[in-house]
């Protein structure tokens, strides 16, 4: 146990030889990955390659894997859909699962949840019901819910896939702001190559159950989609993804 903790001392995520089989079909075949604290990693892959499977394993939602996986205690997941509890207003949704540790903690947690909400610009919606929110607003609440527990690892499972292009662009800026401020390690699962290059420090491509590409993105932020190196990276990654199709 202690050796594991030491191995993870300067990494936020360590995984090696990870396998996962669904009804005889191997989806992950000895995959290895490591993410440094505060590092933003994007995971690309064609649909059905096991991106979400890996994310669910790291998030502790799938115990039936093989191999070694180490993740921090404080983790948060943002799913593709907001997954807010419809029977609770926005604020208690943000505070979901936070446990008061002392007599005055309750007020402190409330305050923390409120400031997380104002970070995503929704402080005025604290008492709204989830059903009344727009898709983008609901996803921002989900982001606040992830942030409020000061995660050492944030797992994002195509969180902006269901949003329109304009809202998505706003969410990208918001996410970059939040990550710059809180510095969690991030694993963003996406199938949008531009999104990956725009946001990540490092881009991985998952093909046939293993990581086949591991690219550093050395571009200054905010990044410009028209920049020559951006375009080169996009071409390279699209080629990698396309190659997997054959």
């Amino acid at each position: 146990m202690t050796t594991e903790v030491q191995a993870a001392a300067n990494t936020a995520v360590f995984a090696s030889g990870v396998t996962r089989t669904f009804a005889g079909r191997a989806v992950l075949r000895g995959l290895g990955i490591s993410i440094a604290p505060g590092e933003f990693v994007a995971l690309l892959g064609r649909s059905g390659t096991g991106k979400s499977t890996l994310l669910r394993i790291l998030g502790g939602l799938d115990p039936d894997y093989g191999g070694e996986v180490l993740v921090p205690q404080r983790r948060a997941v943002v799913f593709q859909e907001p997954r807010l509890l419809p029977w609770q207003r926005v604020l208690p949704n943000v505070a979901l699962g936070l446990k008061p540790t002392g007599p005055n903690e309750r007020g402190v947690l409330r305050q923390r949840s409120l400031s997380a909400l104002s970070e995503v610009g929704l402080a005025s919606h604290a008492r709204a019901w989830p059903v009344t929110l727009s898709g983008g607003e609901a996803q921002r609440v989900a982001l606040a819910r992830a942030l409020v527990r000061e995660p050492q690892l944030m797992l994002l499972d195509e969180p902006f896939g269901a949003l329109d292009a304009l809202t998505r662009a706003r969410m990208h800026r918001l996410l970059q702001d939040l990550c710059a401020r809180h510095r969690p390690a991030v694993l963003l699962v996406t199938h949008d190559v531009d999104e990956a290059i725009l946001l990540a420090d490092r881009v991985l491509v998952l093909t046939n159950g293993v990581i086949t590409v591991d690219l550093q993105v050395r571009l200054d932020r905010p990044r410009d989609r028209g920049h020559a190196e951006f375009t080169a990276l996009r071409t390279r990654l699209l080629e990698e993804l396309g190659a997997a199709a054959e």
Partner: protein, 294 residues
């Protein structure tokens, strides 16, 4: 023939129009909403809901005064009110009603609690589902009223057997509906709760039970009606008090008005129970945006 011809001419012009001839497309409003009539008077909801029962009462009274029924067959609404006055002044109505209410309240509390507890047990644990659910499903098929002779042998004729039967009658509908609703709770929300550190009790309290609430309320509606059914039969067979007893006594003295009075009280209690559940739903299910009726 002329009508058909006219119809065909009106609906088919686009297809048969010579090419190059501009065809005007008829545009319609997308929603089926009728245009608002001016000067329409808005009647309050409560008033609208009262109209139906009041019409029935008037028809009932007229049928009695016009001699459609004899007073032994059917008591008129006015005769029922007179009977209520009479029994109230003798202190008979209040005492019996209170006793029935107390039995039903006790049975309801115990039965609903048992139904929810069993539903949670079976809904959350495979052991509970495999061990307990088949037993409940079998027990549910036994007519509760058929148990009355046995219950008298077991528990005698005191208060306990009546409350027991009422509780039993409430347990099953609450169990069935709550259990089904727990199974219907969205797995995605349960997963979300898990990733944000909810422990098992926390999951039950914050995700599973609130999610099962709509189903529970349906079960509660059934229980609120079922409890009175069991109550009246239990009191008609082995009781010296209660509304069921009052009906039974009225039969031996040919007091049709008292029988109708008791039935009317049941009807009113049913209405009260419905109002209670409606209010509960309004407060407990505010978060829901369901189909409100077209």
């Amino acid at each position: 023939m002329t009508v058909l011809g006219k119809f065909a001419k009106a609906t088919l012009p686009a297809a048969y129009a010579p090419p190059g001839d501009p065809v005007a497309i008829r545009l319609v409003r997308p929603s089926a909403a009728k245009p608002r009539r001016l000067g329409r008077i808005r009647i309050p909801r409560l008033a609208r809901r009262v109209v139906g029962p009041v019409l029935v009462l008037i028809a009932w009274q007229l049928a009695c005064t016009e001699g459609v029924f004899t007073s032994v067959e059917v008591a008129s609404p006015i005769a029922v009110i007179d009977a209520a006055r009479e029994l109230w002044s003798q202190d008979v109505l209040q005492t019996n009603m209170l006793i029935s209410l107390q039995r039903v309240a006790e049975g309801l509390v115990v039965g609903v609690a048992a139904g929810v507890a069993l539903a949670v047990l079976c809904g959350l644990f495979w052991v509970g589902e495999d061990l307990i659910d088949p037993v409940i499903q079998a027990a549910r098929a036994v007519p509760i009223l058929g148990l009355i002779p046995l219950v008298i042998i077991w528990f005698g004729v005191g208060e306990f057997p009546k409350v027991f039967l009422i509780a039993l009658g409430c347990t099953f509908p609450v169990y069935i509906n709550t259990y089904a609703a727990i199974r219907g709770v969205d797995v995605k929300l349960v997963e979300a709760g898990q990733t944000f550190g909810l422990t098992r009790p926390g999951l039950v309290r914050q995700v599973i039970l609130p999610g099962a609430l709509p189903g529970f309320l349906v079960g509660l509606r059934f229980a609120l009606v079922g409890c009175w059914l069991v109550d009246v039969v239990a009191e008609e067979i082995n009781a010296q008090s209660g509304l069921g007893y009052l009906i039974n006594q009225a039969q031996t003295t040919d007091r049709t008005d008292i029988m109708f009075l008791c039935l009317a009280i049941y009807a009113i209690l049913g209405l009260v129970a419905d109002t209670i559940v409606r209010t509960l739903e309004r407060y407990l299910l505010v978060w829901r945006r369901g189909f409100q009726g077209a």
